[in-house]
C-alpha cells in the first residue's frame, strides 16, 4: 500500500486536527448512538463533549479512534481518513479509555516502554521517554511496581502518560475523571492544563459540567447522539440570557408555582420545574430573593429552600433539554 500520503485529505484545513461530516453510528438493533455529527477541532485546543450517559460521547470517540466503524459519514483525524486508513490514523491518536486498560502483565515502566516500542521508538528512546514521563506524572517511585498496585488516580495518570508517549496529534480522554477521588481529579486537571500549555490538542468527554467549564476551550453539548450547542463555556452560559439562576424548593404544585413566579417576579425571564424544584432564570440578582418569597407566599406556597447561583453549563443543558445532566 502506498502509505505515506494515503488518506491524507486535501480538504483538511490548516490547523484542523479533527473534521467529521455527517458522522453517524447505528448499532445493530437500530439504536442510533450518534446522529449526523459535524465536528471540527482546532490544533491546540481542549475540546469537551459534554452530555449525560448514553448521549453518544463514547461512540463518537470510538469512531474517531478507529474502534467503532461508522454507519455513515466521514472522519478525518490528524489529516488521515480514519475509516479508510485506520492503521495510519492510529499513529496520530492517543487514547485514554474509560476503563483501566493498563497491561497487568507488565510493570508501570514497562507499560510505557512497550507502548513506545509499538509506535516505533527505539529501545533507548522508549526507555528515556518512559523515565521522563514517569517523572512528569509523579510516578517515578512506582516505576517497577505492578500495575495492580496503583491507586485509581495513579493508574489514570499512567494511562495519560502512555497515551501521550508517542506524541499523538490528538489526545482523546473518555470520561477521564469518572470514579476518581476529588484530589486525583484535580491532579489530572493540572496535568491536562500542562499538556494544553505544551500545545497538545485534546478531546475529552465528560458528564461533569465543572470539568467541561474548567478545562475546555470549547464545549459541545450532546444528547441523544446530536450536538445541541457548541461554543466556549462563557458564550454558552451567556446564551442562557440570564446572569442569575434561582432554585426554589416549595410544597405544592410546582408547575403552577413556576408560572406564578415567571409572571410576578421582576427580572425573571424563564421559570420551569426541574425535578422537585423550580428553576428561575433572571437578569440582575438584586431583590430577586425577597420578591420570590413574597410572590410564592401570596400564591399560597411555602418556600422550603432557596438558592442563588450564576449560570453554569448545567443550566445550559437544562435549558436545551429540560432535564438535568446527571439523570
Amino acid at each position: 500500500m502506498p502509505a505515506d500520503d494515503a488518506g491524507t485529505s486535501d480538504s483538511a484545513r490548516e490547523g484542523e486536527v479533527i473534521r467529521t461530516e455527517g458522522l453517524t453510528k447505528v448499532f445493530p438493533g437500530g439504536v442510533k448512538a450518534v446522529d449526523n455529527l459535524d465536528l471540527s477541532l482546532r490544533r491546540g485546543e481542549i475540546f469537551g463533549l459534554l452530555g449525560p450517559n448514553g448521549a453518544g460521547k463514547t461512540t463518537t470517540v470510538g469512531m474517531l479512534t478507529s474502534m467503532v466503524i461508522p454507519t455513515e459519514g466521514s472522519a478525518v483525524v490528524g489529516g488521515v481518513d480514519v475509516i479508510a486508513h485506520p492503521a495510519l490514523a492510529k499513529q496520530a491518536i492517543g487514547v485514554v479509555p474509560q476503563t483501566n486498560t493498563l497491561d497487568r502483565s507488565l510493570s508501570v515502566e514497562e507499560n510505557l516502554y512497550f507502548h513506545g516500542r509499538f509506535f516505533g521508538m527505539s529501545a533507548r528512546d522508549a526507555k528515556t521517554e518512559a523515565t521522563r514521563l514517569l517523572e512528569k506524572f509523579w510516578l517515578t517511585d512506582r516505576a517497577s511496581a505492578e500495575v495492580l498496585e496503583l491507586s485509581g488516580g495513579m493508574a489514570q495518570r499512567l494511562m495519560v502518560a502512555r497515551a501521550v508517549m508517542h506524541r499523538p496529534a490528538i489526545l482523546f480522554l473518555d470520561e477521564p475523571t469518572a470514579g476518581l477521588d476529588p484530589q486525583s481529579r484535580i491532579a489530572l486537571w493540572q496535568i491536562l492544563h500542562e499538556l494544553h500549555a505544551e500545545g497538545q490538542t485534546i478531546l475529552l468527554t465528560t458528564h461533569y459540567m465543572e470539568e467541561a467549564d474548567q478545562l475546555c476551550n470549547r464545549v459541545a453539548i450532546m444528547d441523544h447522539g446530536r450536538i445541541l450547542a457548541l461554543d466556549t463555556p462563557g458564550a454558552l452560559k451567556r446564551g442562557v440570557g440570564a446572569d442569575t439562576i434561582v432554585t426554589v424548593s416549595a410544597d405544592g404544585h410546582l408547575d403552577e408555582l413556576a408560572g406564578l413566579l415567571e409572571a410576578r417576579v421582576p427580572g425573571v425571564t424563564n421559570a420551569k420545574r426541574v425535578d422537585s424544584t423550580v428553576q428561575l432564570l433572571a437578569t440582575g440578582s438584586k431583590g430577586v430573593l425577597p420578591a420570590v418569597v413574597t410572590a410564592a407566599e401570596q400564591g399560597g406556597f411555602t418556600v422550603t429552600d432557596l438558592s442563588l447561583a450564576e449560570p453554569t453549563l448545567e443550566t445550559v443543558f437544562i435549558n436545551l433539554t429540560g432535564k438535568e445532566l446527571r439523570d
Partner: protein
C-alpha cells in the same frame, strides 16, 4: 477561565508530530515485532508459571504410563514385557509432544484472551497500536506458536528419557523442522479461535466439552492405524470420526517425524494441518475483529 481557543504552534512545543508520520507497512512491521517482544517479555517474567503448567502434565502422563505401569507390572498398549512397553513408550512420545503443543495454544492464547476480552480489556492498548487489527491477532498467533515450540523442545527430552524402557527414536529432520512449526501455528490459531469465542463463564465448558475430548480422541495414547478394529456393522467408525480432530494429525505426524512407530501418511498430515491452520486463522482473526471493533 474558559476562553476562546488559542491554537498554538504545536510542533514548536515538540508535542504534535503529525508531519513525521511513517509509512503504514513499516509502522505495522515495527509494531508487530514490538507486540512479539511484549509477549516474550511477559513469558520470561512468568517463567515460574510457564514451566510447571507446560511440563507437569506431559511428565505425569509419561511417568505413569511408561514408568509406573511397567514397574508395577500393569500392562498398557496391548501387552506387557519390555518389547510391548518400549513400543508403547515410542508411540506415546509423539502423542505427548502433540498434546503439549495443543495445550500451549489454549494456555498461552485462548485463556489470556478470554480474560482480556471478558474482564480486563487490556488488549485495547495493543489494538490501538499503529497496525491493522488483523495483524494484532496474527501477532498473538505467532507468539503463541513460539511458546508452543519452546514447550515442545522442553517436553521432548522428558518424553524420551522418563520411560522405563527404550524409546525408538528416528529423526526425519525435514519433517521435524516443518511439521512441528506447522502444528504450533495450528494450535495457536485454534487458541485464537477459542479465545475470541468463549466467555470467562464458559471456559470450564471449553475444557470439559472440547479440550478433554480432543486430547482423549487425539491418537495420543494409541496410533490412528490401530483404530481399524473398532467397528459397527463392519464400518471403522472411530477411525473416521477422529479425523475431525487436529491433534490426530499432530500425533501421527510426529510419529513419522521422530519415531519408528506406524503412522498416517505424512502427505495427509501436512494437508490436514495446513487446512486446519487456515480455517482457525480465518475464524480466529475474524472473531478477534468482531470482538474489538463495533
Amino acid at each position: 477561565m474558559a476562553t476562546t481557543a488559542t491554537p498554538r504552534t504545536a510542533d514548536a512545543a515538540g508535542v504534535s508530530l503529525t508531519t513525521a508520520r511513517r509509512n503504514t507497512v513499516t509502522a505495522s512491521w515495527v509494531a508487530f515485532k514490538a507486540l512479539l517482544l511484549r509477549d516474550l517479555t511477559v513469558l520470561r517474567k512468568q517463567l515460574n508459571e510457564f514451566l510447571p503448567r507446560t511440563l507437569l502434565q506431559p511428565f505425569l502422563l509419561v511417568f505413569v504410563f511408561t514408568y509406573v505401569f511397567p514397574k508395577i507390572g500393569q500392562g498398557v498398549g496391548g501387552g506387557t514385557g519390555p518389547v510391548a512397553e518400549s513400543a508403547f513408550a515410542t508411540l506415546l512420545v509423539a502423542g505427548v509432544v502433540g498434546i503439549t503443543i495443543l495445550f500451549q495454544g489454549i494456555q498461552s492464547v485462548a485463556l489470556p484472551m478470554v480474560q482480556e476480552f471478558g474482564y480486563t480489556k487490556e488488549i485495547e492498548d495493543r489494538v490501538l497500536a499503529p497496525l491493522p487489527v488483523s495483524l494484532v491477532a496474527l501477532g498473538k498467533v505467532t507468539s503463541g506458536a513460539i511458546q508452543g515450540l519452546i514447550a515442545a523442545l522442553l517436553v521432548f527430552p522428558i518424553a524420551a528419557v522418563v520411560p522405563a524402557n527404550d524409546v525408538h527414536l528416528e529423526f526425519n529432520w525435514p519433517v521435524v523442522l516443518t511439521l512441528v512449526p506447522l502444528a504450533c501455528i495450528t494450535s495457536s490459531a485454534l487458541g485464537l479461535t477459542f479465545g475470541t469465542r468463549f466467555e470467562p463463564r464458559t471456559v470450564p465448558m471449553m475444557f470439559g466439552v472440547i479440550v478433554i475430548p480432543l486430547t482423549f480422541l487425539g491418537c495420543v495414547y494409541y496410533s490412528w492405524t490401530a483404530l481399524g478394529p473398532i467397528k459397527i456393522w463392519g464400518f471403522s467408525w472411530l477411525k473416521w470420526l477422529v479425523l475431525v480432530n487436529p491433534l490426530v494429525y499432530m500425533s501421527e505426524g510426529f510419529r513419522g517425524a521422530f519415531t519408528t512407530a506406524d503412522h498416517m501418511s505424512l502427505a495427509v498430515v501436512y494437508l490436514a494441518l495446513a487446512g486446519f491452520a487456515a480455517l482457525f486463522l480465518y475464524l480466529g482473526i475474524n472473531g478477534f475483529k468482531k470482538r474489538v471493533l463495533s
